[in-house]
């Protein structure tokens, strides 16, 4: 069941488009914002609410990088692996994170604190290497700086 708040937010976005299906991506993001990820049950509820088939909606949900169809940790670390960050050493950044957190890409730490994901260019290439934690950008990274900044995410 979608909550009243979720429905209110979805309808407020839907008002900006002439066709109801156009709100599908906004709806997925709204539900994910409240629940952390989009479960099969949430997907079916959203599909029903906006009048789409669950299969069609899932083909959209699985297409976009920022929709999570599996549970994630309290914080999602997205490590840029595009070319400028690669030149500036993002492979070392990723290896450091994997060692420190004890997880591979696409995995969540045992304490459910962090999920580690790769991401495409974050558009701050003059301050590479870069990563995002949730909505926050972190740039000019080295292992010490990463360790320090991750302390802010409990």
């Amino acid at each position: 069941m979608l909550t009243t708040e979720e429905i209110r937010e979805i309808e407020s976005e839907a008002a900006h488009y002439p066709k109801r299906e156009a709100v599908s991506i906004d709806a997925l993001k709204i539900v994910q914002k409240h629940r952390g990820w989009v479960s099969d049950e949430s997907l079916r509820d959203i599909a029903e609410h906006i009048g789409m088939s669950p299969t069609d909606l899932d083909s959209i949900a699985t297409f976009y990088n920022l929709i999570y169809r599996r549970p994630v940790g309290r914080h999602v670390i997205s490590v840029c692996d595009s070319v400028s960050c690669w030149i500036m050493g993002c492979e070392q950044t990723r290896e450091h994170l994997q060692q420190r957190l004890g997880v591979g890409l696409g995995e969540t730490t045992a304490d459910n604190r962090f999920t580690l994901l790769p991401t495409v260019c974050l558009g701050c290439c003059d301050h590479a290497p870069a990563l995002m934690v949730d909505g926050d950008l972190h740039t000019d990274l080295d292992p010490q700086k990463i360790d320090k900044e991750l302390e802010n995410y409990k």
Binding site: E21, S24, I25, I87, C124, C125
Partner: protein, 429 residues
């Protein structure tokens, strides 16, 4: 905005990282251009003529003349209704970080440009399609749009002119292919962002099947200045025939990576040496991608070519987004080609066969080269694959954009590719 500065897009932006707020924007002449257009009696046609005469070319990378694109929109009594303006703020081309600056630091300039562009194409609805990862830009744009509504620059009967415009910010859910203009339209319609076959072009059949102009953030940001100061002034900013200034950027192992607004047509050597400070100590320059990871490499002999849409093809490349990625002699060109091909393979929407099948194959060959398992014949296979990604074999420019850096890497750094095979290892690892 005033034309006194040679940096119209960025000259008034505060240096502390904050956005140019509404009062400061207005004080510097902001929102005068919409007054000139909406209450000063300009016709949509006159606006289009100004932008055509300025020779403003699309800053998303393709360089299509903006005024010409606008003039293709059907208008008049029998034209389809409504018409849409969509601003492509889905900056995701690897190595590109210019629109982020304009979105975060000068949001009202973009909004004013959007109002003028919408008026010119007789649109009453405009969307800003922003990539979801640009959270600070989203926050600042949301606030700026609300301020513009409060001041009656947006909404019903703007400044009493009788013109209406609704502007909505759409936050995307992340996928490189959304940057393709027809992929973007599908994403905005709530679908997978598979690009569409063209023709029909979006200016005739676009968003929700209606005429739609899709313009880049930097392109739209130029528009208020052209209206205020005229086409001749805009030409005067440039060193070449393509009008205006350009946001140029440098990333890679240079002394001072960064972003600068400079005259259109500034050569790469000047940007690299005077603005980015040259290579870091101990490193040598080998080549660069002039405007993101889908533009062909250029090397030392091309560095004096003016960086604009007209001249770069003469050096075998393209201006693209104007944000260059520099390859140094301590970085492996094969590894770099592998990284970019992997990116394109991962971001392919999966629709056209040369793209979804070929990119993955090429990525696996490049990986095996990089790990010392390359075989003779691999380079021929890569070359024949890249040929199949030519324009015309796919709906969109993703695969051709993957071919350009790979083919030129194999051309300029051939000996390095061959060394990987001969020595069964990457000499840089």
């Amino acid at each position: 905005m005033t034309g006194s500065t040679d940096k119209p897009l960025t000259g008034n932006v505060p240096r502390d990282g904050s956005a140019l707020g509404l009062p400061a924007y207005e004080q510097a002449g902001g929102y005068q251009a919409i007054r000139k257009v909406l209450t000063g009696g300009m016709t949509p046609k006159a606006v289009i003529e100004d932008v055509k005469n300025a020779n403003l070319r699309g800053r998303g990378g393709a360089g299509f003349p903006t005024g010409v694109k606008w003039s293709f929109v059907p208008v008049g009594k029998d034209a389809p209704n409504p018409t849409y303006l969509v601003i492509n703020a889905d900056e995701m081309e690897p190595g590109t970080f210019k629109d982020r600056f304009l979105l975060e630091r000068n949001p009202h300039q973009l909004i004013e440009g959007a109002i003028i562009a919408s008026f010119a194409i007789e649109a009453d609805i405009a969307y800003i399609f922003l990539r979801g990862e640009y959270t600070l830009a989203a926050e600042r744009l949301t606030r700026a749009i609300a301020e513009a509504y409060e001041r009656h620059y947006l909404g019903r009967n703007i400044l009493g002119s009788g013109y209406h415009l609704e502007l909505h910010l759409h936050l995307s859910a992340g996928r490189y292919i959304c940057g393709d203009e027809t992929g973007l339209l599908n994403a905005l319609e709530g679908k997978r962002a598979n690009p569409r076959a063209k023709p029909p072009f979006p200016v005739v059949v676009g968003l929700f099947g209606k005429p739609t102009v899709v313009n880049n953030v930097e392109t739209i940001s130029c528009v208020p200045h052209i209206i205020n100061n005229g086409a001749a002034w805009f030409h005067g900013l440039s060193r070449t025939k393509d009008g205006g200034t350009k946001l140029y950027g440098v990333s890679g192992k240079v002394k001072w990576p960064g972003l600068w607004e400079l005259p259109m047509g500034t050569p790469a050597r000047e940007i690299l040496e005077e603005h980015a400070g040259g290579m870091r100590d101990g490193l040598k320059f080998r080549g660069l991608l002039p405007g993101g990871s889908s533009t062909p490499f250029i090397v030392e002999e091309h560095l004096d070519t003016p960086m604009d849409f007209t001249e770069m093809p003469k050096a075998g490349s393209r201006l693209g987004t104007g944000t260059m990625i520099v390859l140094d002699d301590h970085t492996c060109p094969v590894g770099m080609a592998w990284n970019m091909t992997k990116f394109f393979a991962r971001e392919s929407c999966g629709f056209c066969t040369p793209c979804w099948s070929g990119l993955g194959w090429a990525e696996r060959i490049l990986r095996s080269l990089e790990y010392g398992h390359g075989k003779s014949g691999d380079l021929d296979k890569l070359a024949s694959q890249a040929k199949m990604w030519s324009p015309g074999n796919t709906f969109c420019a993703l695969a051709p954009g993957a071919a350009d850096p790979l083919e030129t890497a194999m051309k300029y750094f051939r000996a390095d590719f061959e060394r990987h095979i001969a020595e069964h290892r990457c000499p840089w690892r």
